[in-house]
Subunit: 242 residues, 2 copies
DNA sequence: CGATGTGAAATGCTTCACAGCA
DNA sequence: TGCTGTGAAGCATTTCACATCG
């Protein structure tokens, strides 16, 4: 059983973590939380790897970038490792989030359980539809988009989530940027134009389906060189775009 | 102006397309659709690249993997290029989709407009809540999960979307796999265990936020070696997990 | 003995730079 | 002339293999 408090090297401040690794850290974290909840206090790179569908050596290399947190012969202390990943991902801060567009998707996001647990505080919900404004969703009351400037002046907003119809998405993005929001998560099926100083991440549900259909069409087609019988698993990552 | 019908080399069947490229193709496709709708019938790799936030050379290399579809001196014919990408992604087929879990997220997905346009046909909506069963969402009536076997025997189901609470997710995944579904898109915040023959893709909204907060914390922290002032943009990709 | 941590090799991806064509 | 298509170089990531240590 490893002992978190005695050995374990302190994490060097701000080593350069490869993007590919950053993309996997939240996945490890989620798995570790489940594993811990199940009562397993120590995990090996092998176990973690098989749950994440990742080569064990890759897991070890990823984790070694955060510091030497494992115990040879035993593995990693689950709870301790979660803490280290939290710290690395900046989840010891509180990140105020604003969601714009309170339709089905916006509601699903607002209700999302994991948010609060991970330090994301939904501080504002915005829409333009009078039928929704004033409604309480979770802890927060929906307000009109025009109030964004006021809200932003009262408190900093770290992340803006765009869950509007595509026709409104660019306008909302502009508005958020004007209000000082520097990270946008866009769920609208719309290509946004934002400055290079804005961190933009795009989650499009039909894109996910398209990628799956691509791999599936390769699976069923007994193609050329020995066929490609099996695609094992595709996960999330941050690479691919610079 | 390029002429789609005359020159343009036919696409070789089943070249090996890098995963990273596959991840970008749907993005190009969405951009091209918007560009075409705006009336631009020819695009350069430069334009496409700037909209996708991707190096122009990368765009050219990506597209050249599908075949020689550009016209030197002019660029790519927008409509023709869309067709080629569609074909490559297998979007000339119809992909029957089943959505399990008709809460806010399930509804948002069921209503998703782009689905039908891209050959994804939502053929079944399933839940276990009597209050929802029988309700018509879009074109389809919600049925009980127990009917899955019957539905699957009447028609093939290509892709299963899991939009249930996490506690039900593994059970639903097992059920879908038993019914012959070989591709799962999981929105539940739950680590699924599925066989290696199943294509599994995991979209977790708090993971997206975690990654953004990581980069944001690096942006504001004027760290070591010359600081990292700006993260340009992060997009979707398929790499990072094998 | 069993599992980590890590150089070094192998692989994959991106970018450059420019020949070649419309 | 302008923009594509592509070898080749450069860079990043993954995987291997094993020394190391609890």
């Amino acid at each position: 059983m490893p002992n978190p408090s005695s050995d374990h090297q302190a994490a060097p401040t701000h080593r350069r973590i490869p993007e590919a690794t950053v993309g996997r850290l939240p996945v490890y974290q989620r798995i570790l939380e489940e594993v811990l909840r199940a009562g397993t206090t120590t995990v090996s790179s092998e176990l973690l790897g098989s749950l994440a569908r990742v080569n064990a050596a890759k897991v070890r290399k990823d984790l070694s970038l955060l510091g030497s947190f494992g115990t040879r012969g035993a593995g990693y202390d689950t709870a301790f490792l979660i803490e280290q990943i939290d710290r690395e991902l900046g989840l010891n801060h509180v990140w105020p989030v604003v969601i714009v567009g309170i339709g089905n998707l916006g509601r699903a996001l607002a209700h999302s359980h994991g948010f609060a647990a991970r330090g994301f505080r939904v501080v504002a919900l915005l829409d333009i539809d009078a039928a929704v404004i004033g409604e309480q969703v979770g802890e927060v009351v929906v307000r009109h988009v025009d109030e964004l400037t006021t809200i932003a002046s009262e408190q900093p907003l770290a992340i803006g989530v765009i869950a509007t119809p595509p026709s409104a998405a660019q306008r909302v993005a502009d508005l958020l940027m004007q209000s000082g929001v520097r990270s946008l998560l866009n769920f609208a099926p719309k290509v946004l134009e934002v400055g290079p100083e804005v961190l933009l991440r795009y989650v499009d549900l039909s894109i996910e389906l398209q990628i799956m259909s691509f791999y599936q069409s390769r699976m069923v087609a007994p193609g050329e060189e020995g066929a490609m019988p099996v695609i094992r698993s595709i996960g999330l990552s941050t690479t691919g775009f610079d």
